[in-house]
């Protein structure tokens, strides 16, 4: 079999001494890694360029060039890095995705700007999805298994059944027989983890660091997998149009606000990385809630073209 199926040219040299099978497999991995390449250019390139060129111009006597004074200010853009990268990839990944995606699952999307989307499943269970969340119902649901996948916030009311009901999230698996519970799993959040909290019945959660059995009014997080007592109704405030956070990073709070009201909220990382504890029932519009946040942490906010901006005084 030819090794020329890959884009990597000196394949023979790289895979010297390996079996043909192994070479072919590794060649495919080599190609797949294409998508992990970072292609975005440094947003500060122009700034660095003018700083450098200005300095060599001044330095007729180049001895002074050693001190670097006109360094451009650090932009707050750091935590958006992944976002730009992620947007720039689409095309290159098609090959890799074809290995992972099978087309025959049903997918439900809760539109942003809505309050709540309810999905009824074939076994009679229901799932309430927060705006921007997605539920993937795997092929053969209820016939052979009861497996779904969740990206985002979902509240599950599961009908009792003989087959376990299983929810996969990006870093955990939650298994139940019949019960109601909430899951929050935004892979893009700051310090992302899956949170599972139980309203009734019992739920088993498998995270990468271990496994735990939860009862009603308990929650766990996939990054430590310990049991915490929790006020369920506060944690599930989003079900009734509210927002409730205990020591949550503001960046993650703003993401929820963006999805709920379908707007953009801009904030520097000095604000995004700050924790906040805030609880509001039935929030009607974004500016009301953002005003509360701004007041709580003593920053300011203003309206912008397609949303709001939070900034330091």
């Amino acid at each position: 079999m030819s090794l020329r199926n890959f884009t990597y040219e000196p394949t023979e040299q790289l895979f010297d001494g390996l079996s043909t099978d192994e070479s072919i497999q590794l060649g495919h991995i080599w190609d797949l890694c294409e998508s992990a390449q970072q292609t975005d250019t440094d947003p500060r390139k122009a700034q660095v360029r003018s700083a450098v060129l200005a300095q060599i111009n001044d330095s007729a006597a180049f001895s002074s060039a050693h001190s670097v004074e006109s360094r451009p200010a650090r932009p707050p853009a750091r935590i958006y890095r992944m976002r730009f990268r992620a947007v720039s990839i689409a095309a290159a990944v098609v090959l890799g995705l074809s290995m992972l995606l099978s087309p025959s699952h049903d997918q439900f999307r809760a539109p942003t700007g809505s309050e709540l989307t309810t999905v009824s499943l074939a076994d009679g269970s229901t799932v309430d999805l927060a705006p921007g969340s997605r539920l993937i119902v795997k092929k053969g649901f209820n016939d052979h298994h009861r497996d779904v996948a969740l990206i985002g916030d979902g509240f599950f009311d599961v009908q009792p059944g003989t087959t376990p009901f299983e929810v996969s999230t990006f870093d955990a698996t939650t298994t139940v027989l019949g019960t109601s519970f909430g899951i929050s799993a935004w892979p893009g959040a700051i310090a992302a983890s899956t949170e599972v909290l139980v309203a009734t019945g019992r739920v088993q959660v498998q995270g990468s660091n271990g496994e735990v059995l939860l009862a009603a009014d308990q929650m766990t997080s996939s990054d430590d997998v310990t049991i915490q007592e929790v006020d369920i109704s506060a944690k599930l405030a989003w079900l009734s149009g509210g927002f409730s956070y205990q020591d949550e990073l503001i960046g993650n709070v703003l993401d929820d606000v963006e999805r709920r009201f379908d707007i953009k909220v801009k904030a520097p990382s000095s604000i995004r990385l700050r924790p906040i504890t805030i609880h509001r029932n039935e929030v009607g519009d974004a500016s009301e809630f953002l005003g509360d946040i701004a007041a709580t942490i003593s920053v300011r906010y203003r309206q912008r073209a397609n949303g709001y901006e939070m900034y330091l005084n």
């Binding site: 797949l32 958006y80 689409a90």
Partner: protein, 197 residues
Amino acid sequence: MRSIAEEQFQSWSHGLLQSDEASYAELFDASYDALHRYSMYITHDAVSASDILQDVYLKLWQVRETIDPERSLRALMYQMVRNYSLNHERQKKRHAAEAIEADHPSVGFDSVNDDEIDAALLKMRLQEWIDEMPERRKEAFMLSRFEGLSHEEIASLMDLAPKTVNNHIVLALQHIRKKLEAFKERESFYGSRPSNT
């Protein structure tokens, strides 16, 4: 930078020797992106990488009269970026203040469209798997895979035998394959799954 001919670098070397600012600016424009990426492999921080490159380019101008046009300017620049970046990392360890950021390198594809989220998820995973490899293996792999440096160039840059570079890259690919298989299995998210009954 791979696509730039060695002769082009030679002509920039000569330009630098004569303190020709136009050559210098041209060299900056042509080499910045690749060197910034390389610094990012080591520092994982775009802002630090920009600062490092600013220092490297200024240093290059300061030492311009000592440049030997018979030797590869490209190799020299990679070497400078490497030394400055490693130095930066060493100093950073002394100031643990940045720990909060270093702990969460992969944050925030929050505003990506739904259609892009699967692609973003895979890309994020690939980057994580690359990131979790030992530093030197990761560096050799990324220089080869993403910057197109030859094994010999990587070997001399990192002070390794070419055979070792080769081994690093094969081990890196094997590592990623193992992770991908586990990913497909565990997060049966996307794969169809045999029935339990």
